[in-house]
């Protein structure tokens, strides 16, 4: 027999006072202004400075857009980031789906393994890939030893090596963003569709994929922006001929000491990421409209 005990509080309850106005935004705004807006403003200012002239100038911008080597670096950055974002999203999707639906005790283990790469530093992980991919590395040595190849395959010091390394680094972020989205999809929708005769493939195509569009876009954007701003992995796995914006900014700041030109590169990189974010959000809202979500 169940017993229900009713009691009254000994002290009168304090009324919950709703937070009004912009008060909660003060602390984060201060942090953003101090550590993001002001430094960004300074960097924009530096981009108009000249190493020789005192007055503001567009010389560094003009140099950026007329230099084929720099523009090739920008194009390389876009291609590399797009490929990494694609690989991260495609690889993270099935893993995130399994984690969203699984109920066995293995779920925790697989979730831990999925985010485990983040426990090691990015430089450590990149050196790990270098040991595996380089000409005298594990894969090439094994293939040569077995007689399958006579010359090492070009697995590092190129785009392939960088995409592999960055995908490994960024994959956990893709899994987490997709997992949140997939967990929000009611499993009964899938069951209902299957009861009504839909095949497993049709359920994925017509229910799961459309409803997880926000997660897919979010995973792609995270992958793209993290890859575009990555320095260590392209520097170590890309080799001398593989220059991307982040490595070129580093060179201008530390070796050539041309800070205005470095600031221009950093600004262009920022605009590239903002553009990717804008296109991603527009794409997401269009897909929502198209799918009547």
């Amino acid at each position: 027999m169940a017993v229900i005990i009713c009691s009254t509080p000994t002290k009168p309850l304090r009324a919950v006072v709703p937070v009004k106005g912009l008060l909660p935004l003060i602390a984060p705004s201060l942090v953003l202004v101090l550590f993001f807006a002001i430094p960004m403003g300074m960097m924009i200012g530096i981009s108009f400075q000249s190493q020789t002239e005192g007055s503001p100038t567009l010389a560094s911008y003009s140099r950026f857009f007329s230099n084929d080597l720099v523009l090739a670096g920008l194009a390389r950055t876009v291609v590399m980031s797009g490929l990494v974002a694609l690989c991260v999203t495609v690889l993270a999707y099935p893993l995130a789906y399994y984690l969203a639906r699984a109920t066995s005790r293995w779920r925790t283990v697989i979730f831990a393994l999925a985010i485990a790469p983040e426990l090691a530093g990015v430089v450590l992980r990149t050196y790990g890939w270098l040991i595996i991919l380089e000409d005298r590395g594990f894969i090439n040595s094994a293939l040569i030893w077995t007689g399958l190849i006579t010359e090492p395959l070009p697995l590092s010091k190129n785009l392939f090596g960088v995409v592999v390394g960055l995908t490994h680094v960024i994959l956990p972020f893709g899994v987490l963003s997709l997992l949140t989205s997939l967990q929000g999809i009611n499993p009964n929708l899938e069951k209902s569709a299957q009861i009504l005769g839909a095949s497993r493939l049709a359920v994925i195509r017509h229910i799961i994929l459309p409803l997880s569009v926000p997660g897919i876009v979010s995973s792609f954007l995270i992958g793209f922006t993290m890859a575009a701003s990555a320095y260590a992995t392209p520097a170590l796995l890309g080799g001398a001929g593989f220059k991307v914006m982040a490595t070129m900014v580093y060179e201008q700041v530390l070796f050539y000491l041309d800070w205005p030109f470095a600031a221009v590169m950093a600004n262009v990189l920022l605009i590239l990421m903002l553009a990717a974010g804008f296109i991603g959000s527009r794409l997401e809202s269009r897909l929502h409209q198209k799918l009547h979500l």
Binding site: K157, F255, L257
Partner: protein, 346 residues
Amino acid sequence: MRYTALCAPAIVSMVLAANGHAETLIVNSYGGPYETIIRERIIEPFEARFGIKVIYDAVGSASQDYAKIKATNGRPGFDVVVMTASQSLEGCKEGLLEEFSPEEVPNLEHLSSVIAGVAGPCGAVHEVQYLSLLYRTDKLAERPNSWNALLDDGLKGKIILPTFQNVMAAYLMEIFSVAHGGDLLENIDPGFAAMAKLAGQSIGFEQSSSVMETYLKGGDVWAMPFWNGRAQLLVDSGLPVDYVLPKEGSIPLVATLNVPKHAANRDAALKFVNFFLEKSSQEAWVTGYKVGSGRIDIEVPADIRAKQITTEADLKALLLPDLAAVATRLSAWGERWERDVVAAAK
């Protein structure tokens, strides 16, 4: 009572420190074997003589340290820093580094004018290395005596080059330029042509000297350009390697002590710079780290003198580019390197 007795010395030392009795100096330089040797040969004797406590900061390369000085407008948090002559000239031009005077750093007058002029008024030259040709003694039948040995067919696929962001690359190009009929600055076409050929010989490019070393240690590389100080460390480690100063000559790496313009402990910093330039300190440094010196009056063993820059004749035999002029051309040279040299390696 017991607690009072325990706390009293700590409180006294805090008060003394606050009153300036425990003077400190922050020296920024390199880690590894460099740190061990500088601590033993320079820092400990300096502390013993002046009673100044040195805090050694091994974080950051010379270029990162210079960027820190520039970003903080001469207040980087350290008082003395080890950089290069190029950074000394740039920092002086930008007003970020202290200009040394013979009144405050008397030992400057003992430096050879040949090398002191290279670093300008803000750099105290405490060490001179040169770009050497480092090779595996167990792989090469003969000791190479010319930079052109790197172009021999026998070394195809057995050399490695620095990326252009390692200053060795620009200097090697200039050396080849002079060796092939050009000069150090204006007519550098022969240098780039030779570097393009050399790129075809190489297994690739690496920016870090320590990574370049691994190829030589592993036997994948048999010869490469390398600063002779680091080359000597490899010789001393027992590897089957040796290095030469080829007959065409070499360009030095002029290492300097610098004091940021707004260093917190300026007076102690100037004392340290002067101490490092003393005859006995230079002898201790040259014999300990096995590098050359800008002082030509030092007395060192014959085996060290044979391999290091220690005399006026050694200094005059070096190729000395105008580093300020090189700095203005570096960006254009870097682009040409990408087009002519890196492309030739593919």
